[in-house]
Amino acid sequence: MYSTTATDASNFVSTFNTSFYFIAGISLLLLIGLTVIMLYFVFRYNNKKNKVAVQNEGNTRLEIIWTVIPILLAIAMFYYGWAGWKPMNKAPKDALKITSVARMWSFSFQYENGKQSPDLVIPVNTPVKLNLVSLDVIHSIFIPAFRVKSDMVPGREKMMWFLPQTVGDFDLYCSEYCGLRHSYMNATVKVLSNEDYTSWYADSSKVITATEESVPGAEGLKIMINQGCNACHSSDGTKIVGPSYMNLYGEKQVVIREGKEVTVTVDDEYIKRAINDPNSEIVKGYPKGLMQSYKATLSDDDISKIIEYMKSLNDK
């Protein structure tokens, strides 16, 4: 049904190419032609060779010719662009539906069975429809190899679809400026064969669902992922934007409070302050003003769940 002869990474590569090379080709011809004519005139009619200029106020017929021909070319260019774009507007009904969630500064992809992945894992030769959600500011999902891009606007329903045609890994970038770590907000598109995809999809070992309450801190982790805490705070000791959660609970930290260095213990009270009023105490060595208060979004109950999760990261 979706057979293609070329080995393009997606179905939109060829429509992009048609439109791009048609315009670029005509443009290049005109650019070279006009530049050569201009340089010839400059050389041929410079005042050493041509002492007296021949006055010529214009030529209406020429003006009409070089108005009408460019209009026709422009309409042809418009047509190819429109024709290539039109199919992007409507996804096939049988497309695989994945919700793509963006926040500062990470993507996550949520599948219909509850599976979540930081990379977009999809089967080859199956149309994929991404339901685009942004949790904070405008992001834009951009897969250069597929020639597709769409802004992800908070509060707006948007979708993007494409048909991956080759197995392999492709880069996915955020292309709408979204702050400090904009250039690190990327992911990988993993196009798998149908068999590989089916087994990946069925593997639920990495799925965190509300039912798995036996895992320590699972609920806290879920809240964290939903709020995007992990874009800035790692769970494995790596320093990203803020301090890592690993081995943090119960430790002593040097913070700057009202311009003075103070040593505090990371306990429940401190974590609550750090989430609700993050800029009143800044951990030494970290920039001020990057984190906003989560007072309105996280309840005390949510925070204690996150603390449970943090505790589970000690002694790893």
């Binding site: 791009f20 201009m38 005139f41 214009g58 003006e63 292309s175």
Partner: protein
């Protein structure tokens, strides 16, 4: 500077008024002195903006951190954009050369409202000071990019309010300049100068002035809405307050796209003057040149949506904006054809301003053609918000307006200062500038085509080679720029005296002494011929 000795009137530079020293400039309502006030303010800000660009390019020479962190990089491109767009390129040609030359070229003694003209410069300086304050006040410099896109501009902790308010004040300066020019052109043309006897630079300023007057208030109210939203939490644009981020983009581009025509139309006007003067030939298709300037200004209002092809507008909006975008290219193409035809069978005097003009035509064509690619819906989806766009608008705004600005500077420098400059150094500077420009921005087309998004502090190894070439281009460009500026300043002291008409120009500014006397004309000129009458030569 012996204007007084030869013509019995002191040149505007020697005139002794009520004030002395610096005050004789900042309290002067002489359109020529105000033009120079703008020139020095704009050149200083241009030096800052260009240095920021140079440092950004150096940061991008290798992946990862080279000389600055991501927060500094984001603040750099924000300030680079605000300074270059609002304080350099938009006022550039109209405020400097428009102020200086518009009254002279239409045979008037000054603009219609000289005090308002000076007030516009005060507003300009106030706007710039506010932008500078935003860099040092509060929790850190703004980091939203010059577009201030919502809702990021409500989330960032960077100091937004002074920067946004600064842009608002700069807008008012632009509106008042536009109003002043409109009235001047309508009311103060010399006897006999009918509309179709007016030179093309004033025509381009006329079209520009309408855009300044009608489009700038939109950005004004939009920026005020941002201020109200940040301070009073009224939900216009932030979805968390019930606002719509796309509304912000529509309002922003409804101004900021016509603003591109504020930048490029006077550039086209200046290039028309230069080409006809050095070809010693009347402009080819004068009426079509006039109509095309007006057409660009008019159609330019209706294409803003092409900045938002991936934002989520309706399909109908998308293809309407795309079609109009293709059509707005037509009048620009007509101008290029007419410029080249003007050279045909001319007697071309190969001087520095003419080289700038042909370099302008070349880079402007590349900018225009890449704009066609971006106007195409299917191509835009891939290229939007990549380095391709950055390359495209630098070819138009820096390649177009920048080349025309330096061309105009070398063309009118003898008239403004009464001095000639060293042509060899001027040409060396131009060649370096041109090579550096192509090397800097050319590879960015390729980087964008390969998928490198814009405003990226860091990038994948696949984009490394293109970035190295681009960074090296920035060094060549910057050295060319330094040579050009140093050469012009050196000529102020050591340059030979300029005659009143060094290039054989036919427009009115070449009929009066260099530098012009305070009142421009001892006797009001009476115009009987078209603007580019070379028949008697």
């Amino acid at each position: 500077m012996n204007t007084q000795k030869e013509f019995g009137e002191p040149g505007y530079l020697d005139y002794k008024g009520r004030y002395k020293g610096l005050f004789s400039w900042i309290f002067s309502t002489d359109h020529k002195r105000i033009g120079l006030l703008y020139l020095f303010s704009i050149l200083s800000l241009f030096a800052i903006g260009a240095t920021l660009g140079l440092l950004m390019k150096f940061e991008l020479i290798a992946p990862g951190k080279t000389i600055m962190g991501p927060q500094a990089y984001n603040a750099f491109f924000t300030l680079h954009g605000i300074v270059m767009i609002f304080a350099v390129v938009i006022p550039g040609l109209p405020a400097v050369f428009g102020n200086f030359l518009l009254p002279i070229m239409i045979g008037a003694k000054d603009v219609a409202f000289p005090k308002l003209n000076l007030f516009s410069w005060y507003l300009y300086v106030t706007g710039v000071v506010l932008v500078i304050i935003s860099q040092f006040a509060g929790d850190g410099p703004p980091d939203t990019g010059w577009t201030f896109y919502a809702p990021y501009s409500f989330r960032t902790t960077g100091t937004m309010l002074p920067a946004v308010f600064g842009a608002f004040v700069l807008g008012f300066s632009s509106i008042l300049t536009g109003l002043n020019f409109l009235v001047t052109i309508h009311r103060m043309r010399a006897p006999g100068m009918t509309w179709l006897k007016m030179p093309l630079f004033p025509w381009s300023l006329y079209a520009t002035a309408w855009v300044q007057l009608l489009a700038t208030p939109i950005i004004g109210i939009t920026l005020l809405m941002v201020v109200a939203e940040r301070t009073l939490h009224i939900g216009f644009f932030d979805p968390s307050l019930g606002g719509d981020p796309l509304l912000y983009q529509h309002l922003f581009w409804t101004y900021s796209h016509p603003a591109v025509y504020i930048m490029i139309l006077p550039a086209m006007g200046a290039i028309s003057e230069i080409i006809t003067t050095f070809s010693h030939k009347t402009i080819f298709g004068y009426k079509f040149m006039v109509v095309s300037v007006l057409a660009i200004a008019f159609v330019g209002y209706f294409v803003w949506g092409h900045h938002m092809f991936t934002s989520g507008m309706s399909g109908t909006a998308l293809y309407t904006f795309s079609l109009l975008t293709f059509l707005v290219a037509i009048p620009s193409a007509i101008k290029v054809f007419n410029w080249i035809s003007t050279m045909h069978k001319g007697s071309i005097d190969l001087q520095t301003p003419f080289y700038w003009a042909i370099a302008f035509i070349f880079v402007f064509m590349i900018g225009g053609f890449s704009g066609l690619i971006l106007g195409s819906l299917a191509a835009n989806v891939h290229l939007h918000n990549t380095n391709f766009v950055v390359a495209h608008f630098h070819f138009i705004v820096f390649g177009g307006t920048g080349f025309a600005f330096f061309g105009a500077m070398h063309y009118w420098f003898p008239k403004i200062t009464g001095k000639m400059y060293d042509k060899t150094w001027a040409n060396i500077g131009l060649i370096l500038f041109f090579i550096g420009f192509i090397t800097l921005y050319g590879p960015m087309f390729y980087l964008g085509f390969k998928g490198m998004p814009r405003r990226y502090f860091d990038y994948d190894e696949v984009f490394h080679a293109g970035n190295i070439i681009s960074t090296m281009g920035s060094w060549v460009l910057y050295s060319g720029l330094a040579i050009i500026i140093i050469n012009l300043f050196a000529s102020l002291k050591g340059g030979a005296k300029a005659p009143s008409d060094p290039w054989g120009g036919k427009t009115l500014e070449w009929t009066i002494p260099s530098p012009p006397p305070v009142e421009n004309f001892t006797e009001t000129p009476v115009v009987t011929k078209g603007p580019y009458d070379y028949k008697q030569v």
